[in-house]
Symmetry: C2
Subunit: 138 residues, 2 copies
DNA sequence: ATCCTACATTGGACTTTGTCTAAGTCAAGA
DNA sequence: TCTTGACTTAGACAAAGTCCAATGTAGGAT
């Protein structure tokens, strides 16, 4: 993740404590926090960081293609730092836990030409839904 | 759609003008309105209908499995009356237009056992993204 | 090392989307 | 037609996100 900050500095990003903290919070696998969760965790590291800055920074990271925006439940958007490896999501219908998964096959090719309505189709997002081990035993 | 109302009456639904109007607004193919759009169109037919009733009615129709809730953009949820034929969505990245599409293949089977993390996987939602004919020429 | 300034941050007001509640209304069975 | 419990209403409230004017600061220039 520190190479992320270097990469962004190369693109003219000003390196502030706030941005460093947001990047740090988002580091890891299977991380999918809401903006408010990012803000809460960032506040632990840098108490005076504002909500607006967290939103701004997340928005910039999305624009730059460094993180992904995910909305699996129609409520708050979540942010996924795993933007450099194509993947899909598996979501627990009960507790909302999200895992990154890698389906086999070419998902885009599954949409036949006669079902494309003249669109130039360029991407596909898949959400698998089920019950996680934790919730199925409880 | 009128058989929908009959079906619901059979399930103990009280048949009110408001519910009739919401059902009427949702009738058609490739219909994916937000709650506020449904409210606006319903207001044309029945000026005194309230927002709360539209939300209530949409929620009930979803619970009864008569319509689907779709969130393709992380903003307002949309409602899809085509609940009785499995399908996925194709969304224009520019204007937001949504079409119902039918991919080939077994999408659920594309998730290998070793990528399921012990989940009981039961459903899959797919959103194809691209540019619609209208937006690509404009 | 310090200065400058364009870019970043802040807090709070505002918007959008959706939920809840208490009071009034009405569909449909008796 | 009467009655009653389900339905509807307006408006307050809540959650998620955006916007703005004022203030602060990273990092290049000196």
């Amino acid at each position: 993740m520190s190479d992320l900050l270097e990469r962004l500095r190369g693109r003219g990003w000003r390196l502030t404590a706030q941005r460093r903290v947001v990047a740090e919070v988002l580091d890891g696998d299977h991380v999918h926090y809401t903006a408010d969760e990012v803000h809460a965790k960032a506040t632990d590291l840098l108490p005076e960081i504002s909500r607006a800055t967290v939103y701004n920074t997340l928005g910039e990271l999305v624009s730059l293609g460094e993180i992904l925006e995910v909305s699996t439940d129609g409520r708050a958007k979540r942010y996924d730092p795993n933007a450099h490896h194509a993947h899909q999501h598996l979501v627990c219908s009960r507790c909302g836990t999200i895992r990154d998964v890698h389906p086999s096959g070419d998902l885009l090719a599954d949409l036949p030409a006669h079902e494309r309505f003249g669109f130039q189709v360029s991407a596909v997002e898949v959400t698998y839904r089920g019950i996680c081990p934790n919730c199925s035993t409880a």
